[in-house]
């Protein structure tokens, strides 16, 4: 069988169905990882075999340890294979031994990674995944003897225990509280930690234990084990050539006095042509309700591992397969159908950790936006997320900018936009589901009391109403969406025109919600602000050819033609269009400026030109190198919104350009320049002032993944929910012949077939639903759980 190899380059390719990315060369330009999660237990693994595991929905709650180093790869959970007779050893992935191989292949899939290789006549297959419904990861290794003689091999694991903390710099202190023991009845190690970096109920530090027991077990009786990094690696040694590989057996040092690591060693005899499978598990059982031994024994055998692997496919299918597009754009298909959902859910919402950032919390704005990814497949998950974020609000309406998802707590800041994302995302939920009961859900405030979700949203908006400048523009506070504008408005004088536009967009919808509930007084109040916002933003925010970003506490303009650097910012232009602040003429002008200054080879820049000088009055955005991240690079999150804005002004071709340039598989032609994985979005791409123009960074853990999915489906394909039903309003490249789109909507399934033989960008001629012509471009809301065929003729 030869497989189609999509977007193939010298490092790898997508499989035909787009569900696997296959890497054939372990030395990619940066570690190309997979972030695997079941929502409670997660792991990161790169194509080299480097990686680490964590539990409890927070990257900081590490189970195994890593030191993150892009150049040298992280420390990993490593597996050594050794020929017991010849003493030759290599590893089941390229790292750490980095042995010469006959072939090498890594398949990063949805919920698993598989390492296939052949070295020294031994074929090995290492499958790494997380059990869908238990805090257990499985490392299943199959060895096949393809040599001409009987082989005796041993397989040895090694990793360091982290157990409850991620910052590695205090390891010299934390590691001494770890306690490991070998237990015969699980063929493995049980490990506790008597210190956790959280205060106890009285606020005392260093007075609670890590609330889990970790384990590492194997499906065969091990011939030896070890729990000590020093005995395994050897002092001044290196994982590529550890002391343990020079000894017949492992040192079996466990207990409370070692430099805690985990190793199990099993021996396998393989006749010529024979193959055998051994299953290792790593897990962390919460002491209060899980038995680590039970967990270990349940999953540490070949049958259970195989069953669990089948379950992984079923598990992910729920999130992936409720929606499918087929367009002429293979990159769009692969990303929309598979990887953007996976990235958003597995990494951003669940794993919350990647090479570039280890998070312990939910960002108020961040995961709220991300949760839109569930709207089509499982809107109840979006609802859950909305309620969870509503709970992080104070009675005064402001919120925790982020909070720890383990044991709570986070910073109350003066950020000007975070609180407003609650009504914004609520609107998306309502339009998808029409589930207005959410407005009556009662949710607590952080500082006591409870109120309905409606009331929570109202308080957020009212809080924003208290933060206006005398000329009627929202104040910047600590910063707006752009965290790097961190010094503009701390004195509550500087303004954010973008917050004004965002608030305008929210009010537009919230006025009717308030009216529907009979809260006419608030609706009227909103209406007044709504109208004055439009007037004031256009009066004070229009710079002649585009909209300003902000003014500083000292009254200086930011994002103005008067500036030498940071003349034009992206967000105020596209949100003027999205929100409707801009009339047709200004929308056109503003977007022309975006096209002229910001739409570049690798996506739409966040601002232009980048700051080359540090500005204490603007903030840390000016401290980045010019062209890097927010400072004039492509910040993918915002770049997706430019797609949306282009469709709104009818510039479908530009919208598609703005999309294509940030759609990762399209960067496959220059992997050494781009550096990042072609199957997930990067947080940012270097802008023109960078000598590494076009280089991506901060992959996986970025809110851009959900938005890239959304702008493709809702704004390019133009299939989006309204209260009336599912709207069909494509804004596609003329050259497309059409596309199909299968998606769930309020229980029913719509099989939409769009015919663009007319080769237009926009415009619907006819729509047939189940064979019947309908009158407008809104599909009826069947609520019947059935499939409905939709034929759309553009023209």
């Amino acid at each position: 069988m030869t497989e189609a190899r999509k977007f193939k380059n010298k490092y790898g390719y997508f499989t035909d169905d787009g569900r696997e990315y296959v890497i054939t060369e372990p030395k990619t330009p940066k570690p190309w990882a997979n972030i695997i999660s079941n929502g409670d237990y997660s792991l990161m693994i790169s194509q080299t075999g480097g990686g680490y595991s964590w539990r409890g929905n927070a990257g900081q709650n590490r189970i195994t340890r890593s030191m993150q180093d892009i150049i040298k790869d992280p420390w990993g959970k490593y597996v050594y294979i050794r020929d017991v007779e010849t003493k030759e050893f290599w590893s089941a992935a390229w790292k750490p031994v980095m042995a010469d191989y006959e072939y090498y292949e890594v398949r990063h899939g949805i919920g698993y990674s598989i390492f296939n290789q052949k070295i020294n006549g031994i074929k090995s297959k290492m499958k790494v995944f997380v059990v869908p419904d238990a805090p257990v990861e499985i490392i299943e290794i199959t060895l096949a003897n393809e040599s001409e003689r009987k082989r005796i091999l041993d397989v040895t694991t090694f990793f360091e225990w982290g157990l409850g903390f991620a910052p590695d710099e205090h390891r010299e202190f934390h590691k001494i509280f770890i306690d490991s023991k070998y237990e015969d009845d699980i063929n493995g190690l049980l490990v506790d930690k008597y210190l956790w970096g959280f205060p106890d109920e009285k606020g005392r530090n260093n007075n609670i234990s890590w609330e889990y027991t970790a384990f590492h077990a194997v499906s065969e009786r091990p011939k030896s084990y070890d729990g000590d990094k020093e005995s395994f690696i050897g002092i001044y040694g290196h994982e590529s050539c550890p002391r343990a590989m020079k000894e017949d057996k492992l040192a079996q040092r466990v207990g409370r006095f070692v430099d805690a690591s985990g190793s199990l060693q099993v021996e396998l005899e393989l006749k010529k042509g024979e193959s055998k499978t051994v299953v290792f598990t790593i897990g962390a059982a919460m002491k209060s309700y899980e038995d680590p031994k039970e967990l270990a024994n349940k999953y540490t055998n070949v049958e259970a591992a195989q069953k669990a692997f089948e379950d992984v496919h079923k598990f992910w299918s729920q999130f992936i397969d409720t929606e499918e597009i087929k367009t002429p754009d293979e990159a769009m298909n692969i990303m929309t159908n598979v990887w953007l959902k996976y990235q958003s859910i597995s990494c951003r919402l669940w794993g919350k950790s990647a090479y570039y950032q280890t998070s312990a919390g939910y960002g108020y704005r961040d995961q709220l936006q991300d949760s839109q990814i569930f709207l089509i497949s499982k809107p109840e998950y979006t609802k859950k997320q909305i309620l969870m974020h509503a709970e992080q609000q104070f009675n005064e309406g402001d919120v925790l900018h982020w909070w720890f998802t383990i044991r709570g707590g986070g910073p109350r800041t003066k950020c000007s936009d975070d609180l407003l994302w609650l009504p914004f995302i609520l609107e998306a939920y309502l339009k998808e589901t029409k589930d207005f009961t959410i407005l009556d859900e009662r949710v607590s405030f952080l500082d006591g009391g409870r109120a309905t979700v409606y009331e929570h949203c109202k308080r957020a908006i009212e809080r924003a109403f208290h933060r206006f400048s005398p000329r009627g523009i929202p104040l910047m506070g600590d910063h707006d969406w752009n965290d790097g504008l961190s010094a503009i408005g701390n004195d509550w004088k500087g303004e954010s025109f973008w917050v004004g536009e965002f608030l305008y967009e929210i009010l537009k919808e919230f006025i009717s919600i308030a009216r529907e509930r009979g809260d006419y007084q608030f609706a009227d109040k909103c209406k007044i602000v709504y109208e004055s916002l439009k007037e004031n933003l256009n009066k004070y925010g229009w710079d002649g050819e585009w909209y300003l970003q902000a003014t500083t506490d000292h009254g200086l303009k930011v994002g103005s033609k008067e500036n030498e650097e940071g003349k034009i910012f992206l967000n105020p232009q596209i949100w003027a269009v999205i929100s409707g602040i801009a009339d047709k003429d200004r929308a056109k002008k503003a977007m022309e400026a975006v096209t002229k200054y910001l739409l570049k080879d690798y996506g739409t820049l966040l601002l232009y030109p980048a700051y080359t000088k540090v500005r204490n009055d603007i903030g840390y955005i000016t401290r980045y190198a010019p062209g890097l991240r927010e400072n004039g690079g492509v910040y993918t999150h915002a770049a997706t919104w430019s797609v949306w804005a282009y469709t709104l002004i009818g510039e479908s071709e530009l919208a598609y350009e703005a999309y294509k340039r940030i759609c990762p598989p399209n960067r496959s032609d220059n992997p050494d320049g781009y550096m990042c994985e072609p199957y997930v979005t990067p947080g940012n791409t270097d802008g023109p002032l960078s000598p590494y123009y076009g280089r991506g960074g901060w992959t996986w853990y970025t809110g851009s993944s959900q938005w890239l999915h959304r702008v493709a489906t809702h704004w390019i394909l133009g299939v989006r929910p309204t209260y009336e039903g599912l709207l069909i309003d494509p804004s596609i490249p003329k050259e497309w012949d059409g596309f199909t789109y299968r998606r769930q909507f309020r229980g029913a399934t719509y099989l939409i077939n769009v015919n663009n033989s007319a080769h237009v960008n926009r415009g619907i001629k006819e729509i047939y639903v189940d064979g019947k012509l309908i009158e407008n471009n809104v599909l009826p809301d069947f609520k019947d759980g059935k499939e409905h065929r939709v034929k759309v003729l553009m023209g």
Copy 2:
């Protein structure tokens, strides 16, 4: 010349004068380091070559980066040597290349380390030190061609820039704010960082630049340079075999977009028998008053480096050579004369960083105690330290438990003893100097206002007076000296008997100070507390055979025969003796208990038996493994005080035993068990319940170094200041024939020769000063700046 090799073992030895420790085997059981500092710029370097540099008196303000890992050694500032013709390469220290050597030798000296080796026919000598009066370190390398042919060699440096932060886990963010450039006129690199982890004047984070410019320069025109870790190491590479060693020249990547590192490469041609010297410098100039180029050019040449190295000896001589003992105990001589002073000053007071801990601050109690090391050589430094700590006090008398020495700030806690160390150390200063003017120095409080040092001490004592239990015992608060008792008394109910003893000791002296100043009211108040303390501590604190440590908030005894674990604590026994709380009988009994339960093979344990179960009501001490650190190990700081207490009850032989067992050179016979450097004190040594009984840890950065010096000189040799003059009261082993002691005292120099041909432990028969018999054992206070000969006859 053959040198005497003192305390020689398989890893190394002390030179005859004790001023160098020579390591002949790079693979010691743990990295055996040197901490070199001039008070403002510091560096750590191990015998392998691993290490890092920092500035501004705080380990967290790193200039070069390291990841601390005892097993694998830290990342270092590495130097590669390469034969340009054969392409063979090795390193100027063992790490990172770990090449086979003909010989290898590291000399850790006072203010420098020298690496001598011979590899591939090339003798190399690398001298690493810090310029005494500038923020510059010098790496001077001399290569001698001992092969039979002409050799062309290049020498290449490599290290990562840290620039202002130590916790390495956020490097992925911080590194992108570093900016490097190559400058022809310094033959090297200049490096800035546009982000520093301190808030600006408005409390805004991420809004200030690192306040230094770092540089790396070389005395020859380099043939190439690099500023990028990725191009130097190569992705997935390793420092043992970097990509750069496979290329003719370095990649010359600098600027703001790289993974900031520093490398310079010079080429040397060496005829047979020829040798050449090249000088590299690394430094960090504070932008507001130093010019980095000037600094670089001043020191980056062979003559300046040689001059600076001579200055290092002169610099350290001021602190080392004002005092010298000669006893029959070589370990005591070497440690007292050289290394304990060096450790206390170079690491604890100045460098404040080592493998086991990176500090950014001064501990209120810590460096105050440490500063006693200056009393003999430079008491004005002790005074400066006292005034600095007094400034960290609030008007209410309590203090910052520690504070950042860069840009200020630290935690205000409910610790019960920290504030009291001010009057305690003041007393030591007064007795040494009789400089009572310090009491009138006016020093500010943290929360406004100023007062005399006397008043600061008084407020500390008054604050302590407000923290008593109803039965007249001081309360524990967050903890006492023993930080690990962190959960005993947070509700202000649990008591600390040790704090009572400590306060008693302080009051004993302070009552007369108050009287002298005419503050009779306070003197009387102190007197009342003083007397009631003695009564109450003996009434409630005596457990039958020893004194209790504490009671908990729930009223449980800690350190009582009623306890199964933690039956007896060291501090309450020895401070009962030191303070005079215990009468003769109880002093004897309490110390008998110390001898019975605590004085073990490797020193006096902090408590017995160690806690094996976690106790939430006691604190994190119980979370350590049994026998580790405070949990029933030898905590060297307190173990030194047991020497003091034994001398006070006349048990000179036991005092000497307690001393000998913790005096590091005495552990040279079992370096693989002890693991630590024999030339500096460890913070702790594993106790009997540890499987690694006798293993040391936390070397260098420990307050035990000053105290080990003090108990040897003041309490074993018994030469200690009183207001009347220098008291001579030895408490030595009978078998000693005597000892000599040269020391400064109030300007004059005393050459003391003690004759113990009577072979007694204690007792003075006759003392002759400058040939004249004196009447008691207190040497007159000459204040004449001259030398005085003192003959002491024991008996």
